[in-house]
Symmetry: C2
Subunit: 400 residues, 2 copies
């Protein structure tokens, strides 16, 4: 879905953002992006579990271990994945180049890459790109950063919120790249949360896990991640709050950060050719959380279900069929299926007269499919998108 994004100016105290075009992308669009913190920031991160994790992911895992980072260097157009020892050396070298230009130790820099798999990074170009991006870095450069990390994305994904932390007001700025149409096979997902709240490294790690679990894991699901998926939380401390003694005191920040993450996840779900709706799948009553996830994941993978979403077709038969082959145990008679508040399937067959009301819900840009299995306490939510044209041409003929 194309959308016009108003690039309202955003700043987060303590961070500067820069970008440049160094020719990694054949399109000559911006493909090098940097973040520089005035001082070392507290950092937490969540990475892909893909067995072929890319070189920048491996180097990033090392760099975040001690909980402080001062800069990130990101390139788009080349994933530096499946590139062996050379890839690891290139990821480390890009950190050293970045560190030299910023004037800090290279252990305070983490690298990220997204793009084509299996090709070596063009280091000479990237080196020039880093130099230019660092010179370009300003406190107001967030949108330039957001554009430069895009690959197949149709639009930039930037969300910001203000929140009270202790006695101060802090900002949470979220920036992401990723296109959801092809999920769960998704193009690499990179997510950044920048805040000026003061956090301990342990708190930053916790926040990264919470945001990942609360939004992006539900989009991409554990294990269904690309070679490069990464989520970073950086906290500059410039809001001036005292570092909280307990996580309870950070509950407002946590909720705000998870909310920012959810909005970014919906933007990812809406991105990509053919995606016009962000659909939440909410599965309850499964025997376990894992069983609920399996059902949610099966629904969000089903091409027949996703084409029905596109056509605003309350085709509970397709949904029931996918629930039925998910491999999860349940009693068919106990299952109910609803679109938002409209129950369309209950007791093993369709609910008479529900169709028109369900259809109206599905005409909206966003709606929720609720599946109740009646077998236990397990619950899972996922965000997915619809699927359109070529599939619809074929599949829409099937119901009519």
């Amino acid at each position: 879905m194309k959308r016009v994004v108003r690039e309202t100016p955003i700043r987060v105290a303590g961070f500067r953002f820069g970008a440049s075009a160094c020719g990694i992308k054949p399109s000559r669009r911006a493909d090098c992006a940097v973040v520089v913190a005035d001082e070392p920031a507290a950092v937490g991160a969540v990475f892909t579990r893909n067995a072929f994790a890319a070189a920048p992911v491996r180097v990033g895992q090392e760099r975040v271990a001690d909980g402080r980072l001062q800069a990130l260097v990101v390139n788009s157009g080349n994933a530096n994945a499946c590139t062996g020892a050379r890839g690891l050396a290139d990821a480390r070298r890009s950190c050293r180049i970045m560190a030299e230009h910023v004037g800090i130790g290279h252990e305070l820099v983490a690298p990220l890459s997204t793009g084509v798999i299996g090709q070596p990074l063009p280091m000479a170009r990237l080196e020039r790109g880093i130099a230019r991006a660092v010179r370009d870095a300003t406190p107001g450069g967030a949108w330039r950063f957001a554009r430069a990390i895009r690959t197949t994305d149709a639009f930039s994904k930037v969300v910001h919120e203000r929140v009270r932390v202790g006695a101060r007001r802090a900002t949470v700025l979220g920036i992401a790249k990723g296109a959801g149409m092809i999920a769960p096979d998704m193009a690499t997902l990179l997510v950044f949360l920048f805040t000026d709240a003061a956090l301990s490294p342990a708190q930053a790690r916790w926040l990264a896990r919470e945001v990942g679990r609360g939004s992006f894991n539900e989009l991409s699901v554990d294990g269904d991640t690309s070679t490069n998926d990464s989520l970073y939380v950086l906290a500059s401390g410039r809001a001036g709050n005292r570092v909280a003694r307990s996580r309870d005191a950070l509950d407002g920040l946590r909720r705000t950060a998870v909310g920012v993450g959810e909005r970014l996840a919906r933007m990812v779900a809406l991105d990509g050719e053919g995606a016009t709706k962000a659909v939440e799948i909410d599965v309850t009553g499964a025997a376990s959380v894992a069983a609920a996830r399996r059902v949610a994941e099966t629904l969000s993978r089903s091409l027949l279900v996703k084409t029905a979403f596109h056509g605003a077709d309350p085709n509970w038969g397709r949904i029931a069929c996918a629930v039925g082959y998910s491999g999860v145990a349940f009693e068919p008679r106990k299952v109910s299926i609803a679109i938002d508040d409209v129950v369309v399937f209950r007791g093993g067959s369709g609910v008479a007269g529900a169709r028109a009301r369900a259809r109206r819900r599905m005409m909206r840009d966003e709606f929720c499919v609720r599946v109740r299995l009646g077998s236990g306490p397990g619950r899972a939510r996922m965000i997915t998108s619809d699927l359109s044209p070529a599939y619809v041409r074929f599949n829409s003929a099937y119901t009519t």
Copy 2:
């Protein structure tokens, strides 16, 4: 893929096939199909494991239990699935109607349905259709039967072979419906094997399991089946062979039947808008058969992998990425990936110079992706298809 099918006349001694158009399909095309055996035939069957198995599947499971059937009644356009007690009653009633017209006991008839889920069968129409189809039934009616069971299929799927069984020559006739583009979410798969070989009911059951395991399970994978998927083997015994004492004596028949099943499975994979290639996924060296299946299934689900197939793009990065997120344990360095005989990925990175040769293999209508994991003896094969236009427009831009 559209294909011109030459409808060569085929007969299997002991069976008559008929069809009619009774108005279940809005298109007014043939939607009722029957098979009548001269005498009760030995029968074996394999059914969907979907938790929402349709009414005809449940009734069919009862009817095949004693190993003899004399007639099948099939309708297309309505799946009689998720139709509750009424659906079961309708399925049984269609057997009674069929039995009356043929003049046999209703316990010798099994019902099959394929089409839209969740709507009651229009029994008045179906009753008229059955009467006409039984009158229409002739030994040469196999192609009419094959056309009448189609729903979204672009072409009829009929395969026949001759094989020696004991001292006689027998015929194996395979008829299927199903469109593979949307697998593993596939439109219902109905598969029929008719033979004039003499088999015991136990041998017919064994043959049905062998054909299912050897071809269709690899297409649709256990559990990923629709509400109505069914595979029937019927043996009339008219070839006049003595019923074999051991399965060893039936090995030629088994291989022929599995071969017929594989050809039907490839036809299903090639059917549907946007499918132009039947691709075999062959995974070896997994820790277990289940692990190998999981990898094969993940590859056959991956939209990025399937669009690369369509573009004849030996994009091992996408394949490695999908193997990496399949959730199966292995050592990345031990993995190799080949297109037919061309190894494209080994030791954690691409094989230099293999691209052009691999691309030539992928230009063909059929090729094989071989993934060797190097972790154990587990092996699995699957047949899948490529994915074309809208996805390709989007995804092909990603590598270039």
